[in-house]
Point group: C2
DNA sequence: GTTTTTAGTTTGATTAATCAAAGTGCCGTA
DNA sequence: TACGGCACTTTGATTAATCAAACTAAAAAC
């Protein structure tokens, strides 16, 4: 019933509301992350409000209704299960699956998705370490710690990569920055805004603050 | 680049041109099999001609260009490989996959499709017994013989079912009319326009001429 | 407290796909 | 050869999604 466009908007708004976590998501973020002009976003929000997917306050932002949150969550589930399938079953590289899933998520039915979930063995995390919501719309929280806000000199496990960009993912893979790997921050240089890392059985290398913040860890 | 709509039109025109096999496909058939009004079909044909997918002769019909045939064939390949995946890998019923594949065929990329082909072991036929075109666009012809034009009293093998309707497919499955099964026409009643069939290890039953024509056989 | 900047809104236009309904060409039968 | 009917085409309108550019409100800067 909802178009692919509506599905994309709601998924996007839900994801923004989850990390920027205020109740209202501003137009700018939405327009920016979907690559449309601000005017398009404004117009769209009014239409989405008319169909009760969200509430819109002029010059404030939008808040999803529970109907809207439900659909947004369903899209995240579809996206992440599909990514898992593309990597685990078909053997694609984790840097090339995001855009594929971005299309397939609108074409796969509930029935096929649930079969796929069973076929994959009910995976809990996608290839980037992102939690897969349950069928009922429950999602685990991401760890708070990352390679920047972490205490130095402690071996931690990489849990999740927050950047979907294929260039960054290729780089991360080459360096071994992938979920499950153990890593230690051995130095931190405020002037150069970079941290020096040591991965098991690898040589040291350094990462800028901005990138370090995108690697979530636990332990 | 081509929209899902364009992809659907070209696949449809190619399929019509393959079985009605004249060089020109008339508007009526196209409009009818896509469920649009004749006016919509006419308008669309002009747009498709503008983009060199086909040539259109007013009140005659259309003929695909090689560019158009290539895309149409690609869509048939996608559709049938996806159907095969849905049945063989995910275990869906052959009566419920057509509509699913109808959507997925527009969302799957060339890259993912070729991986899927390898994963499935390069299947030659889809679950309904329809030949899957090669990557290069070559397709095997369907058998000419069916349960209506066949000589009586000869055991033949079912090759293909020409009806995608879920009701007919459910019925065919229940009766055992599926590719690979052996069947014999034991009687033919012109008055009742029906044929009586005997499948291996099954009780006899009869089928109307119209339905009998939709079951292709060989041997 | 003005002014400037930035973020967001409005307006008018465009494109793809569709329909209903009015109009037209052509083919077969009389 | 004229007529009627069917298949097809044209026209005018609608819907969803988008943009550019003019406009406006609210927050920062001065
Ligand atoms: Mn998407
Ligand atoms: Mn992911
Ligand atoms: Mn389709
Ligand atoms: Mn099929």
């Amino acid at each position: 019933m909802p178009s692919a466009t509506v599905e994309n908007y709601l998924k996007c708004i839900l994801m923004l509301s989850m990390d920027c976590d205020q109740s209202e998501v501003p137009m700018g973020l939405i327009a920016n992350s979907l690559g449309v002009t601000p005017g398009t976003a404004t117009t769209m929000m009014k239409n989405l409000q008319r169909e009760k997917w969200l509430t819109y306050k002029s010059r404030k932002g939008v808040t999803l209704t529970s109907k809207g949150r439900r659909l947004g969550m369903k899209m995240i589930r579809r996206h992440r299960l599909l990514e898992t399938f593309l990597v685990d079953t078909l053997g694609l590289d984790w840097s090339e699956i995001h855009d594929e899933a971005e299309e397939l998520e609108h074409a796969i039915s509930e029935k096929v998705l649930e079969r796929l979930d069973v076929f994959l063995g009910n995976p809990q995390y996608d290839p980037h370490g992102h939690p897969i919501p349950t069928k009922g719309g429950v999602i685990r929280k991401l760890p708070q710690k990352n390679l920047l806000n972490l205490a130095m000199g402690k071996k931690v496990k990489i849990e999740s990569i927050l950047d979907q960009g294929s260039d960054f993912l290729k780089f991360a893979q080459k360096k071994g920055l992938m979920p499950g790997k153990l890593v230690e921050v051995i130095q931190r240089d405020e002037m150069a805004d970079s941290v020096e890392l040591q991965l098991e059985k690898k040589s040291k290398f350094s990462l800028g603050f901005k990138s370090a913040e995108k690697i979530l860890v636990s332990g």
